[in-house]
Symmetry: C2
Subunit: 370 residues, 2 copies
Amino acid sequence: MKVEGVPYRTIWVEADGRSVGIIDQTKLPHLFETIRLRTVEEAAAAIREMRVRGAPLIGATGAYGLCLAAARDAGDQNLDRAYRLLAGARPTAVNLRWALDEMRKTLAPLALPDRAAAAYRRAGEICEEDIAINRALGENGLRLIEQAAARKPAGEPVNILTHCNAGWLATVDWGTATSPIYQAQERGIPVHVWVDETRPRNQGASLTAWELLQQGVPHTVIADNVGGHLMQHGKVDLCIVGTDRTTATGDVANKIGTYLKALAAYDNTIPFYVALPSPTIDWTLADGLREIPIEERDGRELSHVTGRTEQGGLATVRVVPEGSGLANYAFDVTPGRLVTGLITERGVCAASRQGLSSLFPERISSRKGS
Amino acid sequence: MKVEGVPYRTIWVEADGRSVGIIDQTKLPHLFETIRLRTVEEAAAAIREMRVRGAPLIGATGAYGLCLAAARDAGDQNLDRAYRLLAGARPTAVNLRWALDEMRKTLAPLALPDRAAAAYRRAGEICEEDIAINRALGENGLRLIEQAAARKPAGEPVNILTHCNAGWLATVDWGTATSPIYQAQERGIPVHVWVDETRPRNQGASLTAWELLQQGVPHTVIADNVGGHLMQHGKVDLCIVGTDRTTATGDVANKIGTYLKALAAYDNTIPFYVALPSPTIDWTLADGLREIPIEERDGRELSHVTGRTEQGGLATVRVVPEGSGLANYAFDVTPGRLVTGLITERGVCAASRQGLSSLFPERISSRKGS
């Protein structure tokens, strides 16, 4: 996607063919700065410090981290050390572990002199696969936006509500929930996006708003409290959100607060879709509420807010009195019964075992007994 | 209630018998500062600048504003000017207009020399009436907490979720939604309060957390996104919120986001109560969603956050990129069908015309035709 009119991906190999460029997402939306990663240590730090975030982008950064290690010393000992360093940078990130295993599988059988080049090739493929999946699910989601547009007077924008950042900044390109939106914009379908601020980390207000602004997509930032009111008053045509993990039965774990928006959409008969690359489906799970553990994060994310001062610098202020307790659950689970459909790279299906088995028969058939 | 162990009301006549003390609520929770109002202009400014807020407290401040005017010059011309000045300070505040009319009714028939003393007397009564109503509704709400406690293992705290600040800071004393909580604490019933941060103005994190902290009530501040997750996991026993305006049919206008919590409570079969002094019932309205206009406020409340810096001062930071649209709806309407009951000074009733008519037959009977 574009930044100040210039096409960017969220991660790229620099002109030297070796070092890796990323956008420092901790500075957004106030400063656009790129960072050049030269060592596996720098790649691990970028993941740990959340300069890159979003499951697919973390995976890609891990893959390139192994490239940086292999370029320096492609021996097994060094690669093992690099693997452990990267895997430990965000221990719960499933995509990261997957990408590192892919890299290891590729490199292990090769002679040392061939490993570095093969590493960059495989990391590049991992990025291209992510882009291809996101583009495909975007095309499937685009049809839902086209249908919504057809139900409205010609020229009126389709109002789409989204939560958190399931945008291109979370992936290598296109994003998941944003991919149908960007593709609608390319086809000239007028869209307007309601952007949930997404407390406590404000990924909506800081990242989604910023990337929509860069692509010129009309949007409005709202407090997380507002979506229900908008839906009651016909101001939302459909909701599209992302997911961190979806069960084989269509229960959706996503950023905390997603469940509340799904309830409001259901109460007002507004379509509520979840956009997901199929690797985020956990085929081993049947009950999201019972089986998906919910990460509790540092209360400081809630008690302190960082933003730009009048003078242009960044500052952090405390908004909760000292002495009050804090609880910071990062995700919630939306039961499949509240989800209108899942938008995948293979098509759109019901958020149920039957729905998913219609698109991914090879996955479900192996678990017939469950 | 107490501040640092000392009993306070939110408004009082100072020892000189004339000037009026208030708490500067714009500095909370970071600084506790009181202000002495000496003129009607200062009283109007305190209302306009939201140093006092909450419908009952705004009404009381308006009443004392007229006292300050009458103490200086009790002539009709001066009182009319004072009335207009105060009424214009928060034009949509129904209680403010009501309190000013009460004062005018009291003073108009009196000789000039008697007016100032009568004004302070009537303003004092308005405060005492507010306190009496809140104490009574608190006793009615207390029984719901006692029932919830009886359903739990002995000694386990009753977990109550609240939204925004319907606390003593919004009233003269006790608060509305907090009154049952403070009374439960006085009786030794263990309670724990989940405090919704309540974006965008953060009245939960700043005011409710602060006043619970001062009373020693155990509480935990959460992002507005979290309540649904807590309810799914059995961590909320009941919800109690306040209201700005309730229809004769039990639809409840309250701080934006209330509707989302009511949906989650309904979905998880958790009791959802609204605490309201009967003056907030608008007997002329039958359909809250269609008939209650929702105030849109300055987007800056959303784009900017004020808090305390590490150095101890207050600072304001921007959290939304320049160029993004902002929408800031202040209230939403929760349909009566999602409300378990209304807690009033006369008792608890269903959120319906029948429910309200059982407690307030004199109001409903006059509108039999509707």
